[in-house]
């Protein structure tokens, strides 16, 4: 007889998730309302869309981080740098008048901006994947017996990549100036207008979310990966080349981060701090979701995205810079989760 009953406690993921989303939405309604005009549904609605957009971008960084950590116990600190590589390359290839001549020359071969964007996207993703492959194969492989040094190494690689980006593209932040079909239109929701590009990113994020879920649930590779998350040694004992799977997933994760950067740049532009912002927020998301849990990462990314957009609407004290909430929210969230429930929503109690 099935006696599975619904229990109302925090170890039940459904309860935790509803509670968290409830709290975030309540905060969002509060943050978007003002004392003079009361609750402002149109501002709340547009902030919600903006949050979903940021959550999807975050998901693209966080999913790779989560897969890599779940499978091989490496927290890839360089993930933010891969995000930036994707963003900078796409931006440079697309915007012909700025950046490095080399990438501008690639861009000028494709006069049509829409096709150029597609090409830039592909080049960025492939570069991210190749760099990820190199990192895993050449630098991380010798260190599997020394996990602390692996952590230290990815940290060092992220610094090198950041410095290379600074050396090649400078330290100024740059806006996206090219008009493509995707960011030319507007849509309106709750009486507020916004660019259609947000909808495109949300759609792309949703497609990727489902695609990775299908990859993990419905393919042979997915079964191996999920088994590897449980116990990589056992999988290798069954005669499966786990090392090759490691390389594949690491490459995939880095390519995903580069893809995230590539689709983010038409909206966010480029600046050299975007990598660490997204990396730290992605770490917050995967810890909140439970390290190694794919579903947790997906849900938590969107949650962090909402928190980002709501706190940006939150009135701030005049003596503190406005931008601080964007940077500090994921950090506060991360420290609080680590203090209160280090295993996250879906993680097992350790």
């Amino acid at each position: 007889m099935n006696t599975k009953s619904f229990s109302f406690n925090l170890s039940n993921p459904v309860v935790t998730i509803s509670l968290l989303f409830g709290m975030v939405f309540a905060f969002g309604i509060y943050a978007t309302s003002s004392p003079s005009s009361g609750i402002n549904p149109s501002l709340f609605g547009i902030t919600l869309v903006s949050g979903l957009f940021q959550g999807m971008l975050l998901f693209l960084v966080a999913s790779g981080l989560s897969l890599i950590f779940g499978l091989m116990d490496i927290l890839n600190f360089a993930q933010g740098a891969y995000f930036m590589i994707g963003a900078y390359m796409t931006w440079d290839i697309q915007n012909l008048d700025t950046g490095v001549p080399f990438f501008n020359n690639i861009g000028s071969a494709f006069p049509d901006p829409n096709i150029r964007f597609l090409v830039a996207l592909i080049i960025a993703v492939v570069t991210g994947g190749v760099l990820g492959f190199i990192l895993e194969r050449i630098l991380l492989r010798p260190l599997y017996s020394r996990p602390l040094f692996q952590l230290v190494l990815t940290f060092g690689v992220s610094l090198i990549m950041l410095e290379i980006i600074k050396a090649v593209w400078g330290t100024n932040s740059n806006a996206w100036t090219s008009t493509i079909w995707l960011n030319s239109g507007t849509f309106s929701i709750f009486g507020q207008q916004d660019t259609t590009y947000r909808l495109f990113v949300i759609a792309v994020g949703a497609v990727m979310m489902i695609a990775i879920a299908l990859l993990l649930r419905r393919t042979k590779l997915g079964i191996i990966v999920r088994a590897g998350v449980e116990d990589a040694e056992m999988v290798s004992a069954l005669g499966i080349n786990v090392r090759a799977i490691f390389t594949l997933i690491f490459t995939l994760g880095c390519a995903l981060a580069a893809f995230g950067g590539a689709v983010a740049t038409p909206f966010l532009g480029v600046k050299f701090t975007m990598g660490s912002e997204f990396l730290l927020a992605a770490i917050a998301a995967i810890v909140l979701g439970g390290l190694g849990s794919y579903e947790g990462t997906a849900i938590a990314s969107i949650l962090v995205g909402f928190m980002w957009s709501f706190t940006q609407q939150f009135g701030v004290r005049p003596d503190i810079n406005n931008g601080i909430w964007f940077s500090i929210t994921p950090m506060l969230l991360l420290t609080m989760i680590l203090l209160l429930r280090p295993s996250g929503i879906f993680g097992k109690e350790r």
């Binding site: 950590f69 116990d73 927290l75 630098l139 010798p142 260190l143 020394r146 996990p147 602390l148 040094f149 952590l151 230290v152 190494l153 940290f155 060092g156 690689v157 610094l159 090198i160 410095e163 290379i164 050396a167 730290l280 770490i283 917050a284 810890v287 003596d319 503190i320 810079n321 931008g323 601080i324 940077s327 500090i328 950090m331 506060l332 991360l334 420290t335 680590l338 203090l339 280090p342």
Partner: protein, 376 residues
């Protein structure tokens, strides 16, 4: 059977001194350094009054500044090594304490509004150590629940919050930072740099001796046991949290002290950089280059890297007609060294030295009993 006659007290002391002759020579050289360089380059190690202002000219002052920075960094790196090398706790946020050192002292001196400047200085020191103990206790208590990667993430997040906080704080000049204009004249980095030099030297020697004494004590043995296997240390019956807490708080206070010395030397530039990831990276890199879990390694790492920094940062190299200003790519170079060292030189200078020594010993006396892992 011969029984050695008991050694006299003086003989014992002489033996101990002879055993540590290298250290004594080095400390002696460091004590004489300002005068030695002053004598060699015919510059005064003291500042001279010129009209209403006090100036410090010549090589002696320059080298004093370089070595004050070396002492500050060495204290910082030794404190990091106490956590990473001897307790096995990896922190990515050690710069937090370095920053607290500079900022708390600067804020009390500059904005504290205390009339008596010496009182303000010691109140500032009190604030630094108080804050370091509070934050050290906080981070240490968290280490009960969080291990390895989780602890590293946590410390990184806390340090980043500190960084964002000072970067957006109007009082301390946001991202531009501020300068301490009121420093007691007896420790001012211009008027009496030589005093600051000797204070820094004394702090450095005391921290070195303290860590050596601590690690060689029974407490240190437990710390090393935690590093090797925390579960086992717990199973034997040690309250590992207390020991980790102790190690982390001591390391935090030492890092705060390093921040104070750095802040006193660079009193014009108390900026959010002090909280930046760069200082944590420096600590990690210097520890690993020198030798993780050794006494002299962090000191060698800090000295070597800072001297290299001074010597090469402003150089311009020509490669095939292209001139590269090294200061532009300094962070890139340190990053590359960092990755290379982690990959091919993980035991560092001192660690490798002891390994080679052990290996030669094994070759010459093949049936020698296995020596315990060295900690020099």
């Amino acid at each position: 059977m011969m029984i050695n006659p008991p050694k006299s007290r003086t003989q014992e002391i002489l033996d101990v001194l002879w055993e540590h002759k290298v250290y004594i020579v080095i400390v002696g050289l460091l004590v004489m350094l300002p005068h030695l360089i002053g004598w060699l380059t015919e510059s005064s190690p003291f500042a001279t009054a010129r009209g209403a202002t006090v100036v410090l000219r010549g090589q002696s002052g320059v080298w004093q500044a370089i070595f004050i920075e070396v002492f500050a960094l060495a204290i910082f790196v030794m404190s990091y090594n106490l956590m990473f090398g001897f307790t096995g706790v990896i922190s990515f946020g050690h710069a937090l304490f370095f920053g607290i050192g500079g900022y708390a002292l600067g804020i009390v001196l500059q904005f504290g509004g205390i009339e008596n400047i010496d009182v303000a200085f010691f109140a500032g020191l009190g604030a630094v150590f108080g804050l370091c103990i509070v934050f050290g206790l906080f981070i240490g208590l968290v280490s009960l629940r969080l291990r390895g990667v989780y602890f590293a993430i946590f410390t990184l997040a806390v340090a980043q919050i500190g960084w964002y906080f000072v970067e957006n704080w109007a009082l301390t000049g946001r991202d531009g930072g501020f300068s301490i204009k009121t420093v007691p004249s007896w420790i001012d980095s211009i008027q009496s740099r030589i005093n600051l030099y000797y204070v820094a030297l004394v702090c450095f020697v005391l921290v070195f001796l303290f860590i050596r004494r601590l690690v060689n004590s029974p407490t240190g043995a437990v710390l090393k046991a935690i590093r090797e296997n925390e579960e086992r240390a717990k199973a034997i019956g040690y309250n590992t949290l207390t020991y980790k807490l102790f190690s982390i708080v001591v390391a935090s206070v030492m890092a705060g002290l390093a921040g104070v010395l750095h802040g006193l030397l660079n009193k014009q530039g108390i900026s959010p950089q002090l909280f930046g990831v760069n200082y944590t990276v420096d600590a990690l890199l210097m520890t690993i280059i020198g030798g993780v879990g050794t006494f002299t390694g962090p000191v060698l790492g800090a000295t070597g890297l800072h001297l290299a920094d001074v010597a090469f940062r402003d150089r311009i190299i020509e490669i095939g007609g292209v001139s590269i200003q090294l200061s532009d790519s300094w962070a890139l170079i340190t990053g590359l060294i960092f990755v290379l060292v982690v990959l091919v030189f993980p035991y560092g200078i001192v660690g490798t030295y002891y390994r080679v020594k052990l290996w030669i010993k094994k070759k010459t006396t093949s049936q020698a009993p296995p020596a315990p892992p060295p900690h020099g």
